[in-house]
């Protein structure tokens, strides 16, 4: 059973999502909030497995919400719910602690599949986000942060050039699941790296 919480300000979309989750026998909707301010106490208390988080929220946005509660919700996977994947804010949300993103236009079956995949450790990553991740880590090479493994670098490189998971898996002779697992790890490292950088900046000031 996957425990799910939803944070979406648009009532129509939120209701659709709620209905979709409720209709799934292996999913349990723990909470559904229209704002981050309402969602945060519930999320901290309920500790869901997956949080579907819209970015553009009134008041505290989705990225800030993730950044605030991520460390207090160690078992929760945050899934950004966005209109398109190349939005600048998607990378910021991933760096803040999100492990994946979900396009709003995604068909329901694909959406449920993506939720399950995220729960089992997989993560999506577009080529543009991959290039940003590469750029982020190449800038922080000298920093004492956890750097990417060769395999992760390899996967990122292929992703950045527009290769699909399937193509990458074939190219590297691994399964698509392994690719998604690597990408999940990359998100974790991105999160840690980004957090370390923030702390360093704070200490310097």
């Amino acid at each position: 059973m996957i425990h799910i919480s939803i944070v979406e300000d648009l009532a129509e979309i939120r209701t659709s999502l709620e209905n979709l989750v409720k209709a799934q026998p292996d999913m349990l909707l723990l909470s559904s909030s229209a704002t981050a301010e309402d969602a945060m106490p519930a999320l901290l208390e309920l500790q869901p497995d997956v949080v579907i988080m819209d970015i553009n929220l009134p008041g505290i946005n989705g990225i800030e919400c993730i950044r605030k509660i991520k460390d207090d919700c160690p078992g929760t996977q945050f899934m950004i719910f966005t209109i398109y994947e190349n939005d600048e804010k998607v990378f910021d949300a991933l760096a803040a602690g999100a492990s994946g993103y979900l396009l709003k236009k995604t068909p329901t079956d694909k959406m449920l599949e993506a939720i399950k995949e995220l729960h089992t450790g997989g993560s999506p990553m577009s080529s543009q986000i991959a290039r940003k991740v590469i750029g982020h880590f190449s800038e922080k090479k000298s920093a004492s942060v956890a750097l990417l493994t060769n395999k992760e670098n390899e996967i990122l490189s292929l992703l950045s050039k527009g290769f699909l998971y399937k193509e990458i898996a074939a190219k590297l002779s691994i399964t698509v699941g392994t690719v998604t697992q690597h990408i999940h790890n990359i998100y974790e490292k991105l999160h840690v790296s980004n957090k370390t950088e923030a702390i360093n900046k704070f200490n310097k000031h």
């Binding site: 129509e12 659709s16 209109i83 398109y84 236009k105 577009s126 527009g162």
Partner: protein, 928 residues
Amino acid sequence: MSKLLIHIAFIVLAAQTAVGQMLTSPIRFTPYSIAEGLPSNIVHSCMQDSRGFIWWGTAQGLVRYDGTGLTIYRHSRTDSNSMPHDAAGNCIELRNHQLVFNSSARIWMLNPYNHQQYPPPVFWSGKKIALLKLLNSNLIGVQTEHVTYFANMDLGVIDSVKTPFESGFSFIYLDRNRVLFSKEDKVFSYSLSDKKMEEWDVKKVEPLSSQLCNIEQVDTINKVVFFLHYFAGVYSMSYEPKSADYMKPYPVSGSDIGGTATLRYKNDTLLVAGETGLVLLQKSKSPVLVHASIGQNGRIYQDQDENFWITGRDGISRFNLKQLNYQYIKLPYPANLQFCNKQDGKIWMYSDNFGTLYFDTHLQRVQVIDSTIIRYCWGATPVNNLVYLHGNGYLGKNATPDHNIKMLAYNLITKKITTPSFLKRYYHNAELITMVYQAHNGDVWYSLNTGNGIVRQKAATNEFRQYRNTDTPPPFKMRYVNKAAEDKQGNVYFSVNKASDILVWKNKEEHFVEWRADSLFSQTGNHFGPLANHIIDSKQNLWLAYESTGLVQYNLITKKLKLFERDDGLPGNTFESMVADAAGNIWMATAKGLVCLVTATNKFLVFTARDGLPFTDFFASSLFYDATDSSMYFGSPGYLYRVNTSGLLANKKQSNTRLYIDKMDVNSQPYYFQDNENIRLEPVENNLQFSFATLDFDNTSPNTNFEYALVKNTNAPIWQKLNSAHLIAFNQLNPGAYTLRVRMLNEATNNYVEGRNIFRFMIATKWFNTIWFITVCFATGTFLVWLLIRQFYQRRLERQQVLLAKEKALADERTRIASDMHDDVGAGLSRILYISAEIKNNNPVVDDAINKIVALSDESVDKMNEIIWALNQGNQKLDELVYYIRSQCGEMVNNAGIVFICEPPENITAVAFGWIESRNTYLLVRRL
């Protein structure tokens, strides 16, 4: 100074003793009169300016004298700036070195640097001046009809007082800012500090009462003033405190002097100029007439070099007390004395025209012992009772060659001329005795001509031994010798006429050694000419005077050698006679005067007529030094002189010649300059002519030893001879800084003496060639170029900034649009999509219209995604486009179940383009 006074008194007193005894050299007076070019013999005043020129106010003009020439300033009808009358009175140099003088009851001015006369300041222009007088170094007194003005050295009036007398009075500075006025028996003291006139009581004194009387001198130390009375003579008066006998007459009556002016030297000694002449007055002593011819209205002036100038109605006379002091005896014949040696207080000498004689140092007289005339004789040497005469025997003035008697000597006992017969044994054919020398051990050495060598008469045994170059083996090469000197070991050094070698008698070894000059002194690198003289001094230096080579100093103990040549200051290479004085100085009689090598400094001093030497052309053997009283004797035709060598050196007159650039013409026009002024001339003022004045009162003949050099910037001077007219002309001089230097060759020392004023002038560069102009041009050009470059870059920067701002604004706008599309349009589409989906879920029978709404919404979201992607400035690059296309195509193809193979290159060239191009390219690929 007191020594000088004593000396002058001694000179005058000695001059009055009997002729025949040793006399003291007289004071030499140098006259200046009409004969010497003076415009008038009536000379009112004498003054020396700060440069050394002597100025005389005469009845026919103001005269400048520089030692060789006179410059006369007179009235000119055509020049209104010229003095009002030819007559000039007192002349005073002001602080700014301008001269002020009185002429025809007017004050007038003269610029001594450019010789321009000009009127005085307005204050003085209408004043009728009776007397202009320098009262002290800072105060000038100007006497007018009723008022006496006191002026500073700028001729500015600082005080004035109504004169107690109307005319014919004298005034003098007393002390403490007080001035004395005197006339007849009246004396007034005026204090410039208190502005008070006080009368002194001098009525008690006779015969001054109601007589003409002038105060002439003040002794401020002893508080004594001196009155000079034309008839009564000189009186001194103590003025502080005044006592009953404060007025004392000097031991001279007025008729003795006809005194008009006094010059006080020290304490109670006065020099008085009067009609009788120059008289020396000392208390309790008889007056001494120093100089007879002065004329009326005499004045005495003492200059910076201790020259005394006596002016009066007979011109001017100059004398200097630092002259050569010597004693002399006038001989009855014009005899050329040749000295030999001294024996028993008698200095023996011989004269071709006078015979054998000696000077008795005890009796101070010359005694002729025999008037036998011997041809070509160069001395007389006494040994025991015989005085050997060196020269051809020739008895009597009227004797013929047949009467020629060889080998002559004068017998002091028989008082007859005789022939020393013992010499005949050794010199059968000899014609003359060339040398007789008695050594300190008593040995007597003889030598005669005709090649029979030297005979030694040994003192211990009285035996004779002859040494000849014909002996076997020959002891030496010389045929005979004529001079001998002895060292402390008794070694005797012989030389012979015109040979350069020395023959040395080794006293201890009793044999001869010949010294070859060229090999012995080979280290000097010189060839040695004839040896004229040789002596040995007390320090065992052998001095050898080589004609045409120089003077050799050879120390017989240390073997140290030194050669003195012309470059060392030796004035010439002819040596007539040579002696060493007690101090070790070497005196040489030469054709250029008496030369002394001061061995302490190795400097040569030359004594000539300039130093008071009565003659300069010396003869052979004409010097003799008597160590007992440090006297040196020398002879000239008709005179025997004696001087004290240390006194001679102490009174050596240094050359004080001064050379001035006197006039300057620029482009043939007089240029008025001040001394030492840095003159700046315009570029066209480049034709210059200079004239020079030489200032030398001891050398009245024009000196041709002057040279000049025009030095540009810091170049080395190239010296050229100054012509006798003392004129230099330079034409078309280029711009630059010049220094005109002048120097004079001192022939005595062979050294150059630089001129007193180094004259600097600058010819300006044309303005467009000046450094400042070029610098300004360069700086301006540089600034303009910098300004242009700066403006260029500034404008480019501004353009770039505008462009960047535009681009940023565009990018911001695109971002805003993209954000709005995403947030608003995208959210709206998503809502439509979800509402449609909700409707579809709730109504299983779905209308096609709903499906179309879902599909259109979905498609709109995709297209909007593409637009947003294209609007993103970061995506407007080739690599982003390639990767984006690949990912989109890959997904599309994969979804269709087709294997997609696309390998973008590793490094894609960084090419940027606009969002429209980016989107169109993507759409084009997608459509394909």
